[in-house]
Structures are given as structure tokens and as C-alpha cells.
């Protein structure tokens, strides 16, 4: 059974079967990553362009590794060295790349909906690698993969996303995906960093990190962006740390052992204390490794879908 859609633009509305298929396929590729020769010929002859309009280390490397391990031809494009600086539109940039006979575009962009726009103006298969504060579907898929790997299931688990929800593409994709897979989802943040009418997405809201810890089986901690202080979203990093940071002392008060996740990059000792980040309950590095397998699965399923 192929995926419903020829692009991966987001997890909103993606059927459970499709998510399941991606996660199951990722299991196969995860095993490939443990082999001495970590390469399969699946996408040989396919050309993939990584179109990154925003700086990203982890996601870009993860995609590139996934593409190369599937034997695809890879071209990297970053905004700094591009015609974008000369005022070219996204549509023109994309069409110029497309005319050189490429098959897929993986795009990271600042504008919400940019991936949808790209899919409307080009014929290539589009994978959204993050569009502003809208969606980051492969991140949520690798988060779900990691949860399933650690807990054996997703359904019925209590997962709390902690941090800047308003400006996070990771939060939104996680909420969509986790709800579809039957998890209970909560968010925890200062009220100023929670978007309007978020409860309509079917999530629980905590303003108190200790309550969130008591409720949760898993904490997915988001990076707090220092520049948010500018528009009065929160008073200071010190205040944030004191009231919302996930620390050893706070976790020790819980009877459960919580799994700690973070999409990176971490502000050590701001949103997450260093000892927690490096503890045995942290799956942060597994997330990164699983990211390659999940992206291989997505690329494979979309690239070979007839």
C-alpha cells in the first residue's frame, strides 16, 4: 500500500495507516544503519535537491545522509550562496532547479505554507523539512519512532511538549501525529508562548511544569529561543529556567521515570539541565540516529511511489 499523498507537506490529516507505514518502513532502514555497509541501491538514479532557506545543521545532514544511503544523487542549495539574495522568487528558483530534471525537493523555509506553495508551482515531489512555525513532519515522525522504540507503543501514552509552542513547527507536527496515533498530548509553557485556541487541537494545557511532570510519561522539551524576549513573550531566561526548565530535582519528585526528548539544538541548563540531557532516560541522541532511518523511509516511500 503506497502513501496517500505524493508529497510530505505535513502531518495534519495524514491517515494513521500512512504514519504506521512510514514507522514500519523506518524499522527496516534502522537495521541497515547497523550494517558495516550502510547503503542500499533503492533510489539509484533519482536526483534530490536539498533546498535550505534557513540554516540547519542537524536536519540537513540527516536528510543528506538518508539520501546518500539510498544511493540517490544529491544537490545541496543554501540561501546564503544563492540567487535568493539577488531577489529571485521561490517559484523561479524552484522552476529553474526543476527544469534540470530533478525528482524530489527537500525544503526548509521560514514561511508557513511554503512547502504547499512549492508543491503548487512545481511538478517535483516535495518533502517539507520545516516551514516556519507551521510543520516539521519528519521531526515528528522520528519522535514517534523513538517513542515506539522506547515504549513499544504510542497509543495511550501521556506526552507533554514543553516550551515555545507558539513559534514551534515541531510542536504542531507532533500534536497532529501523536493525536492520530492515539496518544494523550499536553503542552506546558508560559501562557505567552501558547497559541490561541490550542485546546481545539485536543491537547491539555499546563502552566506549571511540576504538574506536567506528574502527568506525563514522556517530556518533549523544545529549545527556547532567546530572541523571543524582545516582544515581551517572557521576562528573562533566568525566570524561564526557574519556572519551566526540566531539571533533575523536578524529575526526582515524580514517581514515574520519564523519557526525555529534545529536537535540538539544546540550550544546556536553560530549558533542560545538562544532567538530565545526558541521563539514561534521555533519548535525544537516539532521536538523531532514528532521524536518518525515518527520513530514508519517507524518501523511499515517496521516491518509489508510482
Amino acid at each position: 500500500m503506497p502513501l496517500c499523498n505524493r508529497h510530505l507537506l505535513g502531518l495534519e490529516g495524514m491517515p494513521k495507516d500512512d504514519i504506521q507505514l512510514i514507522l514500519d518502513t523506518a524499522t527496516t532502514f534502522r537495521e541497515v544503519l547497523d550494517r558495516p555497509i550502510k547503503k542500499v541501491p533503492t533510489l539509484q538514479g533519482k536526483t534530490i535537491v536539498n533546498l535550505f532557506f534557513e540554516s540547519s545543521t542537524r536536519t540537513r545532514i540527516s536528510f543528506e545522509l538518508a539520501e546518500r544511503r539510498l544511493s540517490a544523487d544529491v544537490v545541496n542549495f543554501s540561501a546564503d550562496a544563492s540567487s535568493v539574495k539577488k531577489g529571485e522568487t521561490l517559484k523561479d528558483t524552484a522552476r529553474n532547479i526543476e527544469v534540470m530534471k530533478i525528482d524530489m525537493i527537500v525544503m526548509r523555509h521560514t514561511a508557513p505554507g511554503a512547502a504547499v506553495f512549492l508543491s503548487n508551482v512545481t511538478g517535483a515531489i516535495i518533502i517539507n523539512a520545516g516551514d516556519g512555525s507551521h510543520e516539521h513532519p519528519t521531526q515528528a515522525l522520528l519522535d514517534m519512532y523513538t517513542i515506539r522504540e522506547k515504549h513499544g507503543r504510542i497509543e495511550g501514552l501521556n506526552i507533554c511538549i514543553v516550551g515555545d509552542i507558539s513559534h514551534s513547527r515541531v510542536a504542531l507536527s507532533n500534536i497532529f501525529g501523536l493525536k492520530t496515533m492515539g496518544a494523550n498530548v499536553a503542552i506546558c509553557a508560559p501562557k505567552t508562548l501558547i497559541p490561541c485556541e490550542v485546546e481545539q487541537l485536543g491537547v491539555k494545557v499546563f502552566y506549571n511544569i511540576d504538574e506536567a511532570i506528574r502527568w506525563a510519561d514522556i517530556l518533549n522539551v523544545l529549545r527556547i529561543q532567546l530572541e523571543r524576549q524582545d516582544r515581551a513573550f517572557f521576562p528573562s531566561l533566568r525566570e524561564y529556567r526557574q519556572h519551566f526548565a526540566v531539571t533533575r530535582e523536578r524529575l526526582d519528585k515524580s514517581k514515574k521515570t520519564l523519557t526525555i526528548m529534545h529536537p535540538g539544538p539544546i540550550n544546556r541548563d536553560v530549558e533542560l539541565s545538562a544532567d538530565v540531557a545526558d541521563s539514561e532516560h534521555s533519548v535525544i541522541l537516539q532521536q538523531v540516529l532514528n532521524g536518518v532511518a525515518v527520513r530514508m523511509a519517507v524518501l523511499y516511500l515517496l521516491g518509489t511511489r508510482s
Binding site: L90, K91, P112, F117, L172, C196, E197, V198
Partner: protein, 427 residues
């Protein structure tokens, strides 16, 4: 030239007329209003059976883009779009380049407009409140009014500074001209691209809260009350704004307001398509706001339907939603949308619709009344409430096609205008 309008339903809210009759027009002057009139074969006789004859419509909120942005629209293309949409008059906003803050620009616009189809569409410039629309120093309002400015607005930008707003209202009241405010509290709205609500959360878009509009209107109403000056709120879009205007009118303040067709026809749910033709300022609002706007139209709180016709070229809108300019064209869909959404749903009576498209805006702008009487000049719009048609942007007279209504099936249409002895029919 003789023109005979046969069997039309003449609705004139001023003369309190609603009757089926013939109207004979000779050289632009109404000669006779009576039944069973006839003309010779050489003269024009137009059968308006089942159609409506109304005083000419005016759109008091249009961006003609000339001078400065002729790739989007010109006085010529915009006037033709107005005529095809059923308007005999438009007011053009001053966010041109150069800005309409100098009498020479007004004179130039007037001269240009007279050359378009013999000036069948009256183009009335609205001048800037402040020099360069910068919100700092007052533009020369008296000089601008003498040149022909009907009102003042920094449209596109609000007058942020309360003191400047106070002085502008006081100064304009001296010459009895309204101040038209694009109400937006920028410290809250800046950077936002759509209405704040569930949909903005779903799309991860930076939101514009409804209170950004309401706070500014609220402030302005206080200033208007204090100065006793005439204030008009442009394109109101929220339930809160309707309520503010409603209570201000109860207090008999000299205030009025307008709504655009898109704010009663669409909700922010339309943005889920990421179609940049759903990006406008003020943004499309929630279902509750749309309902409140309709109620405001029904109970008379909202005086005017005006389009905020904002042409942008195809390429300017073919970009990421975040980077697209705000605004859509509206002249050629306004009447169709209003009849479809307000008449056939019984929110407005035909008379109320005509008041909002003709009588009320002319009153607000202190333009002469259109009297449909023998001996008066004919300034008329013809309407067909029953005609079903499909909006096709390719048929627009406007230079720009940025409409979210392409493909919409509407019931009701403006089918022609007469003004200054010229007639245009769009059957």
C-alpha cells in the same frame, strides 16, 4: 441622445419610490418618469423588465494605484472595472507615489479620469491626513479640499499618534470633511499575516488579533466624541468593532463605518488553502465576526459597503503567503457578492442595499444627493437580482486578477450604469 428605460423597478430610497415604470433620459437628463413611454426606432430603448433601476453606486474605498504603481492598476483600468462592477463613482485612496498630499496630484487624477470613456465614472480623490502618510505632520487639508479632496485618510497605515489624530479631526471638522481611519494598533498587529484564532494556530502563522482593530477604533471614537468631529472607520471586520460603532451611534457621535464584501463572504478558514488571495488587511475573521458584521449591516450600524479594491500583479501574489502583499480586487465582484450574501439571504432589503452602496456613502462624503426626478441628471445603476453567473477573473476589466472569488457562482449582478449622458451595459 434619447435613452428609454422600459419597465424597470425604480427603487429610490431618497424619494421613497419603489415602482415599476419607464424612464426617459435625453442628453443625460431625466425627462420623464411614467408608464407606457415610447421612443422612435432610432433611439435606444432598453427593456429592464424584472431588473432594478437604482441611484448610481459609489465605492468609497478603492486603490487605483496611479500614480506610481501602474503595473497593478491605472485610473483607466480601475475606472473600467468600476463601471463593469456597477459603480458610477469611486473614491481613490492616497497611498500612491507620489502620495495624494498635494493639490497637484488631485488635479492630475481628475484630469486623467475625465479622459476615460468621457469620464463616465466619477473619480473622487481622498487625500492623505498627514504628509507622506507618515503620521507626523498634517497635510495641507484646506488646500487639498479646495482642489477636490472629499475626505482624508492615511489608508494602508493607521494614524498611530493620538495627538495627531486629535488635531486632524479638529482641523478637518473646520472644513466639514470626514477623517477615514484604517484602524490598526500596530504594536499588536505588526508582523501578523492573518486573523488570530484556531486557524492561525493550525497554520503556525503570526496572527493579528481582533483587538488590534478594536483598540484603535475605541481610541478614535473617544477623540471623535471629544472633538465633535466626523469620523469614518474603514473596512471594519470584527464583532467588537461593530459593537463599538453601535454604541457610539447610540450616543449620537458623528461616526460611520464600512465593511468590505470579503469580510461578510469569507472566514479565516479560507486561509487554510495558503492562497495568497485570502491575505488582506484587516484579515479575514472568524465565523462569529462574519455573523456580527451581517447583523451590523442589517441593523444599520454599518452604513456602507466598500470594496477596499487593492490590485496586485499576478507575480506579486505568486509568492509565499508570508511575503505576499495584503489585498484583493473587489470592484467587479462587490455587487454580486452583496446580492448573493445579503439579499437572497434576507439580511438586507433591496432598499437597504442601495442605501449602503449609494445613499449613505454620498451622505458621509457630503456629495450631492442623487435625485431620480424629472429634470435631474441621470446617475443610475441597473441591477439584476436573479442573474446567475460564475466569477471569472479573466473577464475582469481590472489590470489585476487577485480575487479569491474566481469560480464562485453568484446570483445577482450589476448590469449597467448611466452617468454624464453616457451609458454602459453589461448584460
Amino acid at each position: 441622445m434619447k435613452i428609454l428605460l422600459k419597465n424597470g423597478r425604480l427603487i429610490d430610497p431618497i424619494g421613497e419610490i419603489d415602482t415599476v415604470t419607464d424612464v426617459l433620459i435625453i442628453d443625460g437628463i431625466i425627462q420623464k418618469i411614467s408608464q407606457n413611454l415610447s421612443v422612435t426606432k432610432e433611439d435606444k430603448s432598453i427593456d429592464l423588465t424584472g431588473k432594478i433601476i437604482s441611484p448610481g453606486f459609489i465605492d468609497m474605498h478603492v486603490h487605483l494605484r496611479e500614480p506610481g504603481f501602474e503595473h497593478k492598476e491605472t485610473i483607466e483600468s480601475g475606472s473600467r472595472a468600476a463601471a463593469s462592477g456597477g459603480f458610477t463613482s469611486v473614491c481613490c485612496m492616497p497611498n500612491t507615489n507620489p502620495v495624494i498630499d498635494d493639490p497637484s496630484v488631485i488635479k492630475w487624477i481628475q484630469q486623467c479620469s475625465l479622459k476615460v470613456d468621457d469620464g463616465i465614472v466619477d473619480v473622487y480623490p481622498i487625500a492623505a491626513i498627514t504628509k507622506g502618510r507618515e503620521g507626523k505632520e498634517l497635510a495641507p487639508m484646506m488646500e487639498l479640499a479646495e482642489a477636490g479632496a472629499l475626505a482624508f485618510s492615511d489608508d494602508g497605515s493607521p494614524v498611530e499618534n493620538a495627538e495627531v489624530m486629535r488635531r486632524a479631526l479638529e482641523y478637518a471638522s473646520m472644513i466639514d470633511k470626514p477623517i477615514i481611519q484604517h484602524a490598526e494598533e500596530l504594536s499588536m498587529a505588526k508582523g501578523g499575516v492573518m486573523n488570530e484564532g484556531y486557524v492561525s494556530t493550525l497554520l503556525g502563522m503570526q496572527p493579528i488579533p481582533s483587538i488590534a482593530e478594536e483598540i484603535m477604533i475605541s481610541r478614535d471614537l473617544h477623540i471623535s466624541q471629544y472633538t465633535k468631529a466626523q469620523y469614518h472607520a474603514a473596512h471594519i471586520s470584527t464583532a467588537g468593532s461593530v459593537e463599538l460603532l453601535r454604541s457610539a451611534k447610540k450616543k449620537n457621535l458623528r461616526v460611520s463605518c464600512e465593511v468590505t464584501p470579503h469580510h461578510f463572504s469569507l472566514t479565516d478558514n479560507a486561509v487554510r488553502s495558503f492562497d495568497t488571495n485570502t491575505k488582506m488587511n484587516p484579515p479575514l475573521r472568524s465565523h462569529e465576526d462574519v455573523e456580527a458584521v451581517k447583523e451590523g449591516l442589517r441593523d444599520g450600524t454599518i452604513d456602507v459597503i466598500a470594496t477596499d479594491h487593492a490590485p496586485h500583479s499576478f507575480d506579486e501574489k505568486q509568492v509565499e503567503f508570508l511575503y505576499a502583499p495584503f489585498g484583493i480586487v473587489g470592484l467587479e465582484t462587490a455587487v454580486g457578492l452583496a446580492i448573493t450574501e445579503l439579499i437572497h439571504t434576507k439580511i438586507l432589503t433591496p432598499k437597504q442595499l442601495i442605501e449602503k452602496f449609494s445613499v449613505n456613502p454620498r451622505n458621509i462624503l457630503h456629495l450631492p444627493r442623487i435625485n431620480i426626478q424629472e429634470g435631474e441628471p441621470a446617475n443610475l445603476t441597473f441591477l439584476d437580482f436573479m442573474q446567475e453567473w460564475i466569477v471569472d477573473i479573466n473577464n475582469f476589466q481590472s489590470k489585476s486578477k487577485n480575487s479569491p472569488f474566481h469560480g464562485w457562482k453568484l446570483k445577482g449582478k450589476a448590469i449597467g450604469i448611466i452617468n454624464k449622458g453616457k451609458m454602459k451595459l453589461f448584460p
